[in-house]
Symmetry: none
């Protein structure tokens, strides 16, 4: 879950943000002054910080500097000051974005999404799907089991990739055949039986009693995590 640190000394703003962010599935932390904000940030490692500049103890730029000293967490500044000098100062101190109050919640949320998206891109978090007996790395196209790399043929990988991109969900035979063998072979369900047998031999602890590559008779297949 994405976590957001909201820093503002006006309780009603913090409250409004907490409600909106929580409702959209964010994990919300809060702080009401600069010093505690820095402490919470160190402890909670939020994915993004929403920072009001008018704090009682520290100047906004100091808070930004305090965060930038050890982290590249995206910072969105909130402020009532509309003059460009304030914006320039905050942005050059290391802020990622500057929103003036009063602000539209839609816009703030969109800017928040943009900031989070960038933050994730920097981490370069590989899309990895993990079961109790093997690991699928979709970025580098590798499957590992007990630390060893398992070699998959192109067809095998095609099937695993589709299942891994839909973890836990049922994928129909038709969809698998269509995406791996093409539209001309959507009825060759025997292909699937042969290849799922091979995959189970390679990936399941007990191929005769698969726990992750599950057949749903008459429907399709599912990657159980």
């Amino acid at each position: 879950m994405t976590s957001v640190l909201v820093v503002d000394d006006e309780p009603q703003i913090v409250r409004a943000l907490r409600i909106n962010l929580s409702a959209r599935g964010y994990d919300v932390m809060t702080a009401y002054d600069g010093k505690s904000a820095l402490g919470v940030a160190v402890a909670g490692k939020p994915d993004v910080v929403v920072l009001d500049l008018g704090l009682p103890d520290l100047d906004g730029v100091e808070v930004i500097a305090g965060l930038r000293g050890w982290s590249a967490i995206p910072i969105i500044v909130l402020s009532a000051r509309t003059d460009s000098a304030a914006k320039v100062e905050a942005l050059d101190a290391g802020a990622d974005d500057y929103v003036t109050k009063p602000f539209g919640m839609d816009e703030l949320l969109a800017r928040l999404r943009a900031a989070v998206r960038r933050g994730l891109a920097r981490d370069g978090g590989d899309p990895i799907v993990e079961t109790s007996s093997f690991i699928v790395d979709l970025a580098v196209k590798k499957v590992r089991r007990d630390g060893h790399e398992i070699h998959l043929t192109p067809t095998e990988w095609g099937l695993v990739e589709i299942l891994a991109r839909n973890p836990g969900r049922l994928v129909s035979q038709k969809q698998l055949l269509q995406e791996v063998w093409g539209p001309m072979h959507v009825n060759e369900s025997q292909y699937l039986r042969v290849y799922f047998a091979q995959l189970r031999r390679k990936l399941e602890a007990d191929p005769a009693h698969p726990r992750h590559l599950i057949t749903e008779p008459g429907m399709g297949y599912r990657l159980e995590l």
Copy 2:
């Protein structure tokens, strides 16, 4: 030098930006419509894009999507529309920032600096990829092995560069052929066999049993570190 692509159909805006940016040491490219903007971006690889939304040919969102398809270049959107729906749409399409016209030049420049700073942070560090038997220096386009520099032909370097920019990742045959030989030759997979044999002779300790330039049969190649 930092390069900026300015896209706008109003010449006076382009001119104003060009003057201000050039004076501050930026390398400025320009485009007056969406299609040429995408072309210039591919050719010039700018460090940041300033994009007006009201272009004559393409919708702004399409331009953003066209860039995001292959690149994470920071995009700053300029627009006369102040409603939050437009902002949300552009930001969610992949823009990094949204500035409404008329804008203050100081503020735009500060947002530009913030965007560039993030872009550099993402690229991060020295462009050097190191394996146990050779070193690829992407900045100076050189490969070293046992301290000696290894001479590569342009085609050989093209392949090594792509692999080195995706260390550990599987790169498809199509992508390699497309980027080195162009879209007309995406089926000449024999080229790859010939050139990878050459590269292994030059870079691998035991060319018959490569440890770094790995073939994934039927799928592509991988630079294993």
